[in-house]
Symmetry: C2
Subunit: 370 residues, 2 copies
């Protein structure tokens, strides 16, 4: 591990991430009060994920907000690598993207990179990643997007649209660039080497500026895209980054669809959710009730509290009172977990119903090929 004690790449996140250091390392910009004011000016409000620093960093966000004010619209693009079932961590940028879409009245593209996960995972077949892509699409649709202004891209389905754009990008990227940005080696397969150009392609699918809400681990792809954009006469994508969502089992790394115990899937039953949180959720509490009452818990490292902060408790006042009660020792770990279990299960109850309905809607969302 480098001296910073953490690693963030699109395929590997490790260590406890210092986000201020990461901003310096990646060369992005912090979301300032000034930026928040610009957002509020159009949106009329500030999403809690912005207030709480879940979205913490950006590239060119100020520029596109200024342009929006002067009448120049943008479009949204985000995505997911379908290596498994959707977990609740995936929903963070999607929910935020939906808020942006409503407030800024944009079109939205959602890319499912079945080819990427096939290239990246030795044991996954293309049939499997494609099947996960359809599964993941249901979760996306369940969040309430509309097919009129939202299109889902599945790479192997939409390759006819993507490839000619990707080719323009690929011609301007050499192997050295991918070594520098992704750490690729001579042993990296050539699908993987080419792949970044397909993740770039949706940035140029409309003839206007794109804004990409995404996990900060995906930034390296678009750092390359931003270098290429002027070379092919297109605007640089603007980005807004969210932090990594911690695994249930603790901070350090991100929640991963391939690590069963640390992950709450959107298809988990109430019993499974309860069991996972009670058994695995990393706690900031003290070893005994007596000690906890005396010293108090640490919500800043407690995963249950963090899930409430990141996603499940949008009400700042309620969140603060949980924070204070847990820190003072008034609230026990079991009580904190019970709040999260309740929140997750009531979210999932509704989500799972919408997810079932999405099965009838999915065809209307899939990008049709020219």
């Amino acid at each position: 591990m480098p001296s910073d004690d953490f690693i963030v790449t699109p395929w590997h996140v490790e260590g406890e991430i210092d986000y201020d250091k990461l901003i310096k390392q990646f060369g992005t910009e912090k979301i300032t009060g000034e930026i928040l004011k610009k957002i509020e000016k159009t949106a009329g409000e500030i999403h809690f994920m912005l207030r709480r620093g879940i979205f913490f960093s950006h590239r060119d966000l100020g520029k596109i907000l200024d342009e929006y004010q002067s009448g120049k619209k943008f479009f949204l693009y985000t995505g997911r690598g379908p290596s498994g079932h959707t977990h609740i961590g995936h929903l963070v940028p999607w929910v935020f993207a939906k808020w942006l879409q409503e407030k800024f009245q944009t079109t939205m593209y959602f890319q499912l990179t079945d080819d990427e996960k096939f290239y990246a995972k030795e044991n996954l077949t293309l049939e499997q990643t494609k099947s996960f892509a359809y599964e993941n699409a249901l979760d996306f649709i369940a969040l309430g997007f509309k097919p009129e202004n939202t299109k889902i891209i599945i790479n192997t389905n939409n390759i006819r649209t993507l490839y000619p754009i990707a080719a323009q990008v690929a011609k301007k990227i050499n192997f050295s660039n991918t070594k520098a940005v992704f750490g690729f080696k001579n042993e990296t397969n050539i699908g993987m080497i080419f792949y970044t150009s397909l993740q770039s392609a949706p940035c140029f699918i409309e003839d206007r500026q794109v804004l990409i809400p995404l996990g900060v681990d995906q930034d390296p792809h678009f750092r390359i895209t931003r270098d290429v954009a002027p070379k092919i006469g297109r605007p640089k994508p603007a980005l807004i980054h969210n932090i990594m969502i911690p695994s249930l089992t603790g901070p350090g790394g991100k929640m991963s669809a391939s690590e069963e115990s640390g992950t709450i899937y959107t298809t988990d039953s109430p019993q499974v959710v309860k069991k996972k949180i009670n058994k695995y959720a990393f706690s900031g509490g003290q070893p005994t009730v007596e000690e906890h009452r005396r010293i108090g818990g640490n919500p800043d490292i407690d995963v249950s509290y963090q899930y409430l902060r990141i996603f499940f408790e949008p009400d700042d006042k309620k969140l603060k009172s949980i924070y204070d009660d847990y820190k003072s020792g008034k609230m026990l770990t079991g009580e904190l977990k019970a709040i999260l279990i309740d929140k997750v299960n009531s979210f999932l109850e509704e989500h799972q119903q919408k997810r079932e309905k999405a099965k009838d809607q999915i065809e209307r969302f899939l990008l049709s090929e020219k």
Copy 2:
């Protein structure tokens, strides 16, 4: 240049090629009398390009001929990189492929790699290479293929069919492999690095063995494909290689569509053909008529004679008499050139008519996407 004094790669051919040395360098097999007998057994004859060593080398040809005898059919695949208009050198493997198709009653795929030429040529756009692809397809169709058993693939048109196959191949090839086989460097663009997997894809488009008639410079692509095939549970492609067709201006290198003066295009007028051959065709004759009568010419280095041998004079007896007359000094260079001009122009007169008719047929040849 290496010690062998020639270079043969898919994108660069230089020097006077020693084909026996090339067979050793590439690790292919020479077409022997035994192989010719096997072909004759089914075909009932030996194509003059086989008799004369224009097709000189192969991989696994004996194997698929034996299998054919025992009832196992194969299919044919060849192609072209559309970097410019078609020249007469391109027609060599196509004409031979048509003969194979008729004699062995196979389906045939013809791939036009518009993406490859876009990646390889700094100044070509994808629109230009695609437009050349359509132009080149007309020449292919004009040779008399039938849409019932012949399909034309244009990479950016058929990427939906090709990409999932290419992805299977790409996952099994790493950057080191492409360095070793193509001499790629860190500065090579990632489109180019990935591309070989798209040239592999048609090898697996049917669920049976493929035979590929092709210029020997394209062998490196399929050397990789042959390594990958067993890893993805598919049969290794069999190959039959033709020699490089010399440029008008002389032996060494191959006829190139980007070098105007050394190239006879299929769309050239009789006057242009006459002028190009008279002005540029490298001659094996002597500086003066007197000297030529006395010493005789050298048909082995004379490009006009070589064109007759390779393509324009299928009659062995007539060819031999030209050879003897030129070598003895009885036939002057001007007379030899006049024979070639006449042959080329009568071929092109018919070809250009068929090429016009092909414009109405092309849609029926284009591979339709699933």
